[in-house]
Symmetry: C2
Subunit: 316 residues, 2 copies
Amino acid sequence: MRSEFEFINHIKKTYALKHIGDDCAALPKDDKTDMVITADLLVEDIDFRLDWTTAKFLGHKALAVSLSDIAAMGAKPTWALLSIGVPEKIWKGDFLDEFYEGWHGLAAESGVELVGGDISRVPDKIVIDSVVSGDVAKGKAVLRSGAKPGDAIYVSGELGGAAAGLALLENGLRYSDLLIPEQLNLLKEQLAPTPQKGFTFQTFPVTSMIDLSDGLSSDLAHICSASGVGAKVFLERLPFNSNLDAIGLSPERKVDLVLNGGEDFELLFTVDEKKISPQFLVEFHRIGVVTANVGIIEFIDGDKTTVLEPKGYQHF
Amino acid sequence: MRSEFEFINHIKKTYALKHIGDDCAALPKDDKTDMVITADLLVEDIDFRLDWTTAKFLGHKALAVSLSDIAAMGAKPTWALLSIGVPEKIWKGDFLDEFYEGWHGLAAESGVELVGGDISRVPDKIVIDSVVSGDVAKGKAVLRSGAKPGDAIYVSGELGGAAAGLALLENGLRYSDLLIPEQLNLLKEQLAPTPQKGFTFQTFPVTSMIDLSDGLSSDLAHICSASGVGAKVFLERLPFNSNLDAIGLSPERKVDLVLNGGEDFELLFTVDEKKISPQFLVEFHRIGVVTANVGIIEFIDGDKTTVLEPKGYQHF
């Protein structure tokens, strides 16, 4: 069976689509500005479960996942479309009011205006399509394809929290006052993640960028594939979510969550080491280096080196 | 239970959303151009049935419904996003290849480029979100709110075909060589409609416009509501689809299909009679006149006048 990435590449080639392949499409807007745009489908019982989340969290997350794609282009979010299909039993309750409240809470913080969308009836499961656009200085959208051997690889924040939150949900924990703060923090990472503001990176010598939605191993492989490079990642440099130690995971499981967990919505980016500022040393986490070993990600654990295979999330 | 229109108005007021309320949002692009954008959700077993259509027709229709919204703003389509969720059994077959073939066939004719979207797994029913953008000269997007008493009301083509096609499908007919040409024409109107090119209207004195998606009675009510006007519609002026006579419908049923059927994706627009060109008399159908009788649509059948209530399609 072909994977979703194989299918997208097939469609891209068949119809000569030149804007497909980054977190957003970048399109010319005016003399000084490009616009970027992204779409994210969220489907009940695939991407979320109603008994695990709240309508307000879900509204927040629907916008957050797309804001993260805007951030990954180095762009500033501007406006959004929101399409939602709900069954009649959901229509009749307060769900949609609370969903829009969650969505607009994050929109207000992020400077995003809702300009359109669609509302439809569905037979059973809720579906959401979140479309967000952003602005970026002309030609300055950060692509996945600009990484060069010798560039340093950075992540913007801690990893593994969202996947640990998912594991807690799968084990029956629910967001409530009965939990300890670390558990609540991890559930919040999964249910209502905070996207990064990638437009603040425009002064940095960033050569490629992607958001960590599928998982570090898969998302770094996307950068390597688009840039025609390889990478080395050092275990000791990985920023483990600080709440992970509180929930009794084995060391192997923690490494797996950080490498393959996904949905942390941090930014993964490469920078030109020669132009780097001291700010990077304190704000971000230098996890590795870009190599000329095309398509191979080496994972360095002390004096042991293995090849890191992409094991992040795939729909197909 | 609140209707979908009541809910949209509630959200619009709660969050002071100024771009909601037309077929598309119109947003500033550059000094000379505005961009318009629309989103349309299509859901299996609500908006289409897999045993009634083909993947290729469905791809065509997914784009057609959004192109029609672009046309209704007087804009020229430019690019699109396509999000689609399919269950695993559909993923494994040829469905998606044929769907994209149908989509791209109409896209190529319409000058639309696919720039992004999303592909997701769904538990059961297919969902599609079609987003299309277009360009229009600055300040020239045609809104629903510009109709003035005395303006003439026009439709761009024949009505009732798509709804008659739906009735044939509901009665068990399927698109095949066994049908007579009129039946095939009606099924085609329902399954693979041809949207209008609204940007060619820019030289006409059009004061308001909407596409006929819900049905004439509902869509004219939208114009009346947005413009703060009323309307008179003359039965004898309504352009009945020329295939309707071949399928044995009662006169009452035909009138119902034309007034309330929906999905014809023709354009309904008002024009300033004083500035009208003779071209309108041959190309389009003058079905009535805008009045100052706010919110009331009078339906004139010879010397009998009734009030036309909106009876077009609503999801909720």
